[in-house]
């Protein structure tokens, strides 16, 4: 079944290519139908805990295996991808007005590449998919984006490519080093993991830096973040949904899979600076979200804030912090997708993204307001949402670890860093409530008064929100459902 599912996702672009481009609706619905089928397939596979592994040897001597595997770390990201894509496809039916078939083709291509990136267990394949997954996004922003789209694509590609090149160098370095030490030439992740014991620490540090740099651009961690606001502002709404919900998670996933697993000693050594960078980044992103007037920028910068806290969880050696970070990938994925969808809906109706051009949507669009409000609750981590549960676990782990450091080694800097991280809760409340206040409440602004007759959400639009909210609340009320399955995986990370 795994092969079938993979094959289906591989052939999805081809199937779409064969459809006539005049029948845009058909293309859209076929795309969505197959994506829903894929969701069902992935879901049954993962709940039956089947062994999902596929390996095809391209070259034994070069150690090139097309090796895909579903493990505890990518399992939920695959599900998230499989869930978000049909919603993005549905959203694009309304939001994308030109070259519709091409757009769906790009989505299908992007689906294929993202899933393979998450699954790849061979470093060269991982690198190839990682790099290629930029391409569909490049076209999505470049063709269907806003007025300043060329600059945005330019920045997006240059930044991510720069990171990737360093990663490629590090991959080659690891492979050669492994060959010198063990005499085996391989790109497989599993044998390379042994390098953490054999490679000298100084060499590990350089490789760590190259990998971490690539992932920190993608996540993004300030000061490597400036491509993100541009990309988000110019991308069409479905593109933003995809970018925030899934592409950013690729960075965090890569960090777990390739940094935490390959270089635990370096992470251990540089834990404090890493935590500090992520917390400063989170504070920086949240603080900037507070003073933006473009609603899309508010959400974009808030993503930087949430991703920073997520990364804090990943580098804290504690079960609850890492579980929280894994949960936060889902939480932020679902929440940011819903937020960018809402902004898309508003832009469709009012053709503005200026915060001060709205107001009183609670009266004119009551359904939208309710759903949007529920989403912001998750964004500002109010219980019982998934946003709360995940950040609660991260902070619980970070504070506990820092207290342990104070008691065992009189080290006070950790507690300063993780205490500062909790200020993001306050900043998150500030920017979220500002958004809610100017959008939903108050009086209609003069600019929006000119445009009469705003339509509230229809059934389809409501159901997109409902699906996302259902997961946000169910997992927030009962997080143990997912935490349980992280247990073994986190033991594999061998945290002290």
């Amino acid at each position: 079944m795994f092969k079938f599912t993979l094959g289906l996702s591989l052939f999805l672009p081809l199937i779409l290519l064969l459809l006539p481009s005049q029948k845009e609706r058909v293309v859209a619905w076929v795309n969505m139908g197959i994506q829903l089928l894929l969701l069902a397939l992935f879901f049954t596979m993962l709940t039956n805990s089947e062994l999902c592994e596929f390996s095809f040897t391209l070259s034994e001597s070069l150690g090139l295996h097309y090796h895909l595997l579903i493990d505890e770390f990518n399992k939920y990201l695959i599900l998230l991808t499989a869930l978000i894509f049909p919603l993005v496809t549905y959203a694009s039916i309304d939001f994308i007005k030109t070259e519709k078939k091409l757009f769906h083709l790009m989505l299908a291509l992007s689906y294929l590449l993202i899933v393979q990136t998450f699954l790849a267990q061979n470093l060269l394949f991982f690198y190839a998919f990682w790099e290629c997954s930029i391409v569909p996004m490049f076209f999505i922003i470049g063709i269907w984006g806003g007025g300043n789209r060329l600059l945005a694509t330019y920045k997006f590609v240059l930044f991510t490519a720069l990171g990737s090149i360093l990663m490629l160098a590090a991959i080659l370095f690891l492979v050669v080093a492994n060959y010198k030490i063990s005499g085996v030439f391989t790109f497989e992740l599993q044998p390379l993991l042994r390098l953490q014991e054999t490679l000298p620490l100084s060499a590990q540090r350089w490789a760590f830096l190259a990998f971490a740099f690539a992932f920190m651009i993608k996540i993004p961690v300030p000061p490597f973040h400036t491509w993100l606001p541009y990309a988000h502002v110019e991308a069409p709404a479905p593109g933003s949904m995809l970018l925030a919900a899934i592409l950013l998670k690729m960075g965090a996933y890569g960090f777990i899979k390739f940094v935490l697993f390959l270089f635990p000693a370096v992470v251990e050594e540089w834990r404090l600076p890493l935590m500090a960078i992520f917390v400063l980044g989170a504070l920086y992103g949240s603080a900037l979200a507070f003073v933006q007037n473009d609603i899309k920028k508010i959400v974009a910068y808030s993503s930087i804030g949430h991703m920073g806290i997520l990364m804090l969880g990943l580098v804290t050696p504690s079960e609850s912090a890492i579980s929280g970070a894994m949960l936060s990938m889902l939480g932020h994925g679902l929440t940011s997708a819903a937020l960018f969808y809402s902004i898309g809906l508003l832009y469709e109706r009012l053709h503005t993204r200026d915060l001060f051009h709205f107001g009183e949507l609670a009266t004119t669009m009551p359904r939208f307001s309710l759903l949007f409000f529920l989403i912001t609750l998750s964004a500002m981590a109010v219980p019982p949402t998934l946003g709360f549960a995940s950040e609660f676990f991260i902070f619980l782990g970070a504070i506990s670890y820092s207290l342990k450091m104070v008691i065992t080694s009189n080290h006070y800097l950790f507690i300063a860093v993780s205490g500062a991280a909790m200020l993001t809760i306050l900043l998150g409340t500030l920017y979220s409530l500002r958004l809610v206040k100017y959008l939903l409440w108050g009086k209609k602004s003069e600019a929006s008064l000119l445009r009469a007759g705003v339509r509230d959400l229809n059934l389809g639009e409501c159901s997109v929100f409902t699906v996302l909210l259902l997961f946000i609340f169910v997992l927030g009320i009962y997080p143990q459902f997912i935490i349980e399955s992280f247990k073994l995986a986190i033991k594999g990370l061998s945290i002290s």
Partner: protein
Amino acid sequence: MSELFLILFFPLVGFLINGLWGSRLQEKSCALIGCAFPLLSLFLLTYKTAVSDFYGVSILFTWVSFENLTIDFALKLDHLSLLMSFIVLGIGSLIHIYSTKYMHGDQSFARYFSYLNLFLFFMLLLVLANNLLVMFIGWEGVGLASYLLIGFWYKENENASSGAKAFIVNRIGDIGFLLGIFILAFHFQTINFDEINRAASTANASATMINLSALFLFIGACGKSAQLPLHVWLPDAMTGPTPVSALIHAATMVTAGIYMIVRLHPLYMQATAVLPLIAVIGTLTALLGALVATVQSDIKRVLAYSTVSQLGYMFAALGVGAFYPAMLHLFTHAFFKATLFLSAGAIIHALHGEQDIYKMGGLAKKMPWNMVAFLLGSLCLAGVPLTSGFISKEAILMHTYSHSHSYSQTLTILLLITAALTAFYISKTFFLVFLPSKNGSEKPLHAIAFAMSLPVIALAILSIVVGLFHIPAFMENYLNLAKSITIKEEAHILIPALSLSLSAFAIAIAYLITVKQIKIVPKILEQKFYFDHLYEKVLLSTLRAFCKRVLATIFEVKIIEAAIWSMRDLVLFSSRRVTLLTNGQIQWYVLLILMALSLLMVWWFYV
């Protein structure tokens, strides 16, 4: 035990029905649904309490389970939480009934009732929680409901801002609350109340950890219970509908901080460094609230500052280790403050929305029943003998006086002054509103429906009754909280004598200045000790300016972006220089080749 979950979830059902389908229902059905579910909970609770002891812990599911920490979604019913549930559901139901008429004709009638039901659900969750996490969910939930209700009439920008302010200030406290939870989870590896309390009294509990966690939880309590310096949101919360002010911002939600500390009082008894701080903060809040209340002219703001001040009393009591008196004052205050708010609501309703006490007057004849209710509430608040307020306030004062610390005499004096100020502002308000005056408007009054008078009168009677018939003594045995103070002999006479004479004096002055129409408003009181000024004009605008000018302008654009563009410029610059080499002239290429070759030869021979 499953009944406990029924009691908890009934209001949630009401919230869902009214929230999802309320806009399609008639006003009457909305009101019926809105009132029915809290009443159902109340009846079920009464019935179960009457027929059987159903105390105990009931676990619904495991919220999360880590290697060294398991958090259950569990409820706990004991004497303390039962008492609080009765307060919440009893007063809550009466206020629901009152609201059916107060909100009559409002466009968003169903929305109002759904929020009110949601509030009850979260408040019950907070009260019935078995561990700090469940309490925190309720804690944030009531904050959310309060935010929604303060900004209920959201079209006014001012209301929307007040709601946001309340939520943000509460969030500051909540960060403290979370830190408290984390420290306890780290130190005791549990966040269940019983286990924390047990572990705190054992010898190997670290005093530093106990003090730290108690301190951070107290910061949370300061936010929710409007204590210095996080009290600023409560007066602004008065922009919400008046029944909401009575229920959430006087009787129930704002007492959550006191409830939490009483819940954890064995822990707090070990937190010897934090208790004095609580006592001082409580006393200062009591004094400051009463001072500001004397100059307010909006009837709801008088009551709001009075609530801040009375909550301060409760914290002062907690700080000296008098947990039972604090709980008693919470209990009596809930009744008499709800009475005051509801009758103030009736006045505002009758006067078509007028809230300025200087524009009222002569209402004694026009609203006699309401006057009686307001009078009873005021007597309780002023601490006149035979009322419930007298008993609880004297208990607090006597305990503070008998406390062994050196500062307790000062605290007692400040609290006595507060008592006098309280008598002063509430009697001034009463005289201004009800005594004949030429300021009162001549407009015919809006009729007050029976459904509004009934809860007011019921609450007024209750607020007297709860002080009678040995109810306080019974409660003391029933709650059985730890005691650390024996009341000094002389306090039994000295304290009542002092407080009564001071209050009588204050009432006399209040009468005089009302009759003589004197109005003195010192600048510092008018500005409410400049707290709002400090937060909005100084802190918030500094933060905003910092984010905008420093982060968004300098860091983001002038440093990070500029660095990136200069890298691009560097690449472009050097590539332009390199292209100069390929200028298409053969002799130039030959020269280059020769130069390169000679360099190679030099390298070959000499290196």
